[in-house]
């Protein structure tokens, strides 16, 4: 489903964010990305969303070469991917409800469908009482949960979660990880980047370890080793 072939990303001649990375992810897989800060995790996910182009090598999503994707195919690609961004990337002029609904509006869902799916997802992320707040009125953890809800609501085939629990307390962290596991069981591919040792070790899923842009380990039932 997802293939990286000798992918490098060079932001600046002396900033090599990703170096010669190759791996494959099959449908329904649950993959953890670990690595120190600056190791290249976010960069890897950006290449998948076609937010950045690879400097070398190729990135495939369902046989499609994302490296040279046409502008008008971009929305179609991105609608299949639910992304939780490390910096949330919420729409500041939209309320919590509108932010989450936006992901559904984008795929052309009707208002009835949005109304139908919204309560459940709000309940899951525990934001039912904050629907009309704007992002600036939310705490870091609340924003993160809005971002998670937005990534999930339209039931994408793949979820890219970049540090989705970085700002959450242990209680909410556990909730979100359980949720990701459940979604994965229903058949959604999940790529989770995290610093959280406990989470990785308790998951017992595939772990790709990055160090200074290079993949130094890729284990089927990995552990958090840096």
């Amino acid at each position: 489903m997802i293939t990286f072939q000798n992918v490098s990303k060079v932001y600046h001649p002396n900033i090599i964010a990703l170096e010669n990375a190759s791996f494959q992810i099959v449908p329904k897989e649950f993959v953890c990305l670990v690595g120190k800060s600056g190791a290249g995790k976010t960069t890897l996910l950006k290449l998948l969303l076609a937010e950045e182009k690879p400097s070398q090598g190729q990135v495939f999503f369902n046989e499609q070469n994302i490296g040279n994707i046409k502008m008008d195919h971009l929305p179609v690609l991105r609608r299949q991917i639910g992304a939780v961004f490390q910096d949330y990337k919420l729409l500041n002029f939209k309320t919590v409800y509108e932010n989450i609904a936006y992901a559904m509006e984008v795929i052309g869902a009707s208002d009835a469908e949005i109304k139908r799916d919204m309560p459940e997802i709000l309940d899951v992320v525990g934001l039912s009482h904050k629907t009309s707040s704007f992002p600036i009125e939310l705490s870091g953890g609340e924003k993160q949960r809005v971002a998670i809800a937005r990534a999930l609501i339209h039931r994408p085939k793949v979820i890219l979660a970049d540090e989705p629990t970085g700002n959450l307390d242990p209680y909410h962290t556990l909730d979100i990880i359980r949720l990701l596991l459940k979604i994965n069981e229903f058949g959604t591919t999940i790529i989770l980047s995290t610093h959280n040792r406990e989470v990785i070790n308790s998951l017992g899923k595939r772990v790709i370890t990055l160090q200074e842009g290079k993949i130094i380990r890729d284990e089927k039932q990995g552990r958090f080793i840096l």
């Binding site: 969303l49 937010e51 502008m71 008008d72 971009l74 929305p75 179609v76 690609l77 991105r78 609608r79 991917i81 992304a83 961004f85 990337k89 919420l90 729409l91 500041n92 002029f93 939209k94 936006y102 992901a103 509006e105 984008v106 795929i107 052309g108 009707s110 208002d111 937005r150």
Partner: protein, 302 residues
């Protein structure tokens, strides 16, 4: 598709209500531009109306002395009728003038009484002269004043109307000249300001736009709201402008009546209500959409 259009409108509306500030200046200048544009149309119609109205009535009346005989008057009529600028000449005898007066004022007892008191027919025989163009009257009058049958003529009634006609011509010409220039300037300024407002709005939303792209929003869904924003400010400017027009028409009604007798500004406004409203709304929305379109085209690269 309908859902998409609806959402584009809602998003555009939110862009205005939640971003505020900028829109006020935008609406203000747009209102002025629309005001100018619609004034041009309004005045063009108004002056056409006035001139047609007055041209119909604007004849030179030549009143003959009491002792002038009909034969001479008819001779004068033929002479005047042969002037190339003259469209038609009507002879009204003193009896006819008398009858017409009675016909017109029979319901006015005061006038009738005073007429009865006079006892005789106080009306003079006259020729009504119509020229083809209003600016030919001066020539016609000049001809009559230096006429060989001058001694038959009691008075030439033209000078009373001349200033009115000239006032209208002067005003119309001056207004359309100045109006066109001012309109063009205001349109340019309005387009520039709206364009700038949308540009700034795009600039302020650049993070939002990036995010919208990242979650897979289509071009139309991202760009549409900016066009709607322009259209909405144009629409509101048009409404404000229309209210302003209505107030002016109402407030200046009596003054206009004084300036141009027989003309009702308010009733003219009411008669042309739909035309004025649609010109204003169309030019408002047009201005808004065109300027936003240019800004989006230029600054919202996809």
């Amino acid at each position: 598709m309908f859902v998409l259009i609806k959402r584009i409108f809602i998003t555009g509306w939110h862009g205005i209500t939640r971003d505020g500030g900028m829109i006020t200046a935008n609406i203000f200048i747009m209102t002025m531009a629309i005001f100018m544009i619609s004034s041009l149309f309004f005045f063009r119609d108004l002056s056409a109306f006035l001139v047609a109205n007055i041209q119909e009535r604007a004849d030179v009346s030549v009143y003959f002395k009491n002792d002038a005989i009909e034969e001479d008057i008819l001779k004068v009529k033929r002479e005047v009728g042969s002037i190339p600028e003259v469209k038609e000449v009507n002879y009204i005898s003193s009896e006819e003038a008398f009858e017409r007066f009675i016909e017109r004022h029979s319901s006015n007892p005061v006038l009738m009484e005073s007429l009865a008191e006079v006892g005789t027919n106080p009306f003079l025989a006259s020729l009504g002269v119509k020229a083809f163009e209003a600016d030919q009257y001066a020539g016609v009058v000049g001809f009559l004043e230096n006429f060989q049958f001058n001694y038959l003529i009691e008075k030439i009634d033209y000078y009373e109307r001349k200033p009115v006609i000239e006032r209208i011509y002067g005003l119309t010409a001056a207004f359309s000249r100045v109006g066109v220039i001012v309109s063009v300037i205001l349109i340019l300024v309005a387009v520039m300001i709206t364009f700038n407002a949308v540009r700034i709005s795009i600039y302020n939303s650049r993070e939002e736009i990036k995010i919208q792209r990242l979650v897979g929003a289509s071009n139309l869904f991202i760009k549409g709201p900016f066009l709607v924003q322009g259209a909405i400010s144009g629409f509101f400017s048009a409404l404000i402008c229309f209210l302003f027009f209505a107030l002016l028409a109402w407030g200046l009604d009596t003054r206009a009546e004084f300036l141009f007798p027989g003309f009702g500004l308010l009733s003219f406004f009411i008669a042309n209500l739909w035309m004025i409203l649609s010109i204003q709304i169309l030019s408002g929305i047009g201005l808004g959409v065109v300027s936003s379109f240019i800004a989006v085209k230029k600054y919202l690269k996809v």
